[in-house]
Amino acid sequence: MNYGRPELRERLASEYVLGTLHGRARPRFQQLMRADPELQARVVFWEQRLMPMAARLSAAAPSAKVWQAIAARVAPREQAVQVRPGGLLRGLAHWFDLRAFGSVAAGLFVGVAVTLMAPRLLDRDAADVAESQLPQSYVGVLATADGRTGLIVSSLRHGKVMDVKHVLRVPVATGHMLYLWSIDAEGNTRPIGPVPQGSFVQVPLSETSEKLFGKATELALSIEPVNSAPVQPSGAFVYRGLCGKLWRVRTPQNR
């Protein structure tokens, strides 16, 4: 079967969401989808189209034992930064901006980073600025759920070192370490590497910053066992925040 044909991909995505793919077709499609973001996007689109049908169904309150079983299975394995329930607006603004941000993911700098790191830029007409005040860099500002900045990460474009400023201190249990992740526009998480403790540290990168941060729209920090090489976060993101490219990207209009 030629899975590259758009009409076949559309039909499979729609029937997967409806539920009529069965037998070996369903697991085969799930496997195909894992490595195919375009197919994932088609499935999300069909979920948005069809799920309103479920609005017609009656609700059914689950018994108390269901939550008890769930809570036992998701109990925290390590200590994470305490997240305050209030004051979410700032953090949410970053998060939901991903919707718009996704469409310009390869594009310009991130407002949060610019506000924090180069406020003068905002006061000037971008067309008048020949070069930025800071060298061309990737910048990430990671925050707690209530919007408190926890970590600032930067790395020169094409660089092989990143600077990490710890704004808040993260308690890390013995035998564990802080670990940095990149998240791309589709929500895929990729490991960057361990982050040492210390108020301001320089960390060698395993690859160039282009490779590690080029597709990142967000960065996140988790706590992992020491000497491990995780491929997915084992549980806790203690901080999460947007990552952007702090340099001028020429648009067709100003060429």
């Binding site: 069965h22 948005q48 609700a59």
Partner: protein, 216 residues
């Protein structure tokens, strides 16, 4: 447990906190949504006890997948419903024996286990506010434009999780006929929904397609 359907924006706030591994927020998300997800699951598997087992699996998956959730994956409630339905479908498909209700859906004592609801019915359902009524109205309008057989096949597949073979058995039609009803029904539904889609929802997905297309 809160009896009011949760507002979409409050679910978004909860999902954000859950993505940050906030256990208290996860409990609130569960309280706000579990009864709707269980309603979907029980309708599909026709067994409350089994449905609760599937619900448990669904919320464990939700907890683990939450850090990868972003608004680009759709409304939070849509994402949650999709996980619940997929868990129910996986559970149904793992049972090899034919289900009794497939051929005799009206035999069940519980009215909820009867014929699939008419998805084109003008009366709104209990989750209407959560999935945003504009979306539900758009879908209802487009479902009304399908042939009755196409609409019934899609409703039975969606609400009861029937396979093509089970649909053929239930609707007493050849397999090829019901497959064609489903395929043409979904195709017409897509055309109708895309014609009526609000402008703002398109560029995000198109941009995603463009991004991923470049990578291949």
């Amino acid at each position: 447990m809160n009896s009011q359907p949760p507002a979409p924006h409050s679910l978004g706030a909860l999902m954000f906190r859950v993505s940050m591994r906030d256990q208290a927020a996860f409990r609130q998300l569960y309280d706000a949504t579990a009864r709707y997800l269980l309603g979907i699951i029980v309708r599909m598997v026709h067994d409350r006890s089994w449905g609760e087992e599937i619900l448990q699996e669904a919320y464990v998956s939700i907890w683990h997948a939450a850090p990868n959730y972003s608004a680009i994956k759709g409304q939070p409630i849509t994402w949650l419903m999709a996980i619940a339905r997929n868990k129910a479908l996986d559970a149904l498909r793992s049972r090899s024996s034919e289900r009794k209700h497939v051929v005799h859906p009206m035999a069940a004592a519980d009215a909820e286990d009867g014929e699939a609801p008419d998805p084109a019915d003008e009366r709104g359902g209990p989750l209407e506010q959560v999935v945003q009524s504009i979306e539900a109205q758009r879908l209802r309008h487009c479902l009304q434009r399908l042939d009755a057989s196409q609409r019934q096949a899609i409703a039975l597949a969606f609400y009861d999780g029937l396979t093509h073979a089970e649909l053929a058995l239930h609707m007493r039609q050849p397999l090829g006929t019901v497959k064609a009803w489903v395929r043409r029904g979904l195709d017409r539904l897509r055309q109708c929904l895309d014609e009526r889609a609000p402008c703002r929802s398109q560029p995000v997905v198109l941009a995603l397609h463009a991004e991923t297309g470049r990578r291949r």
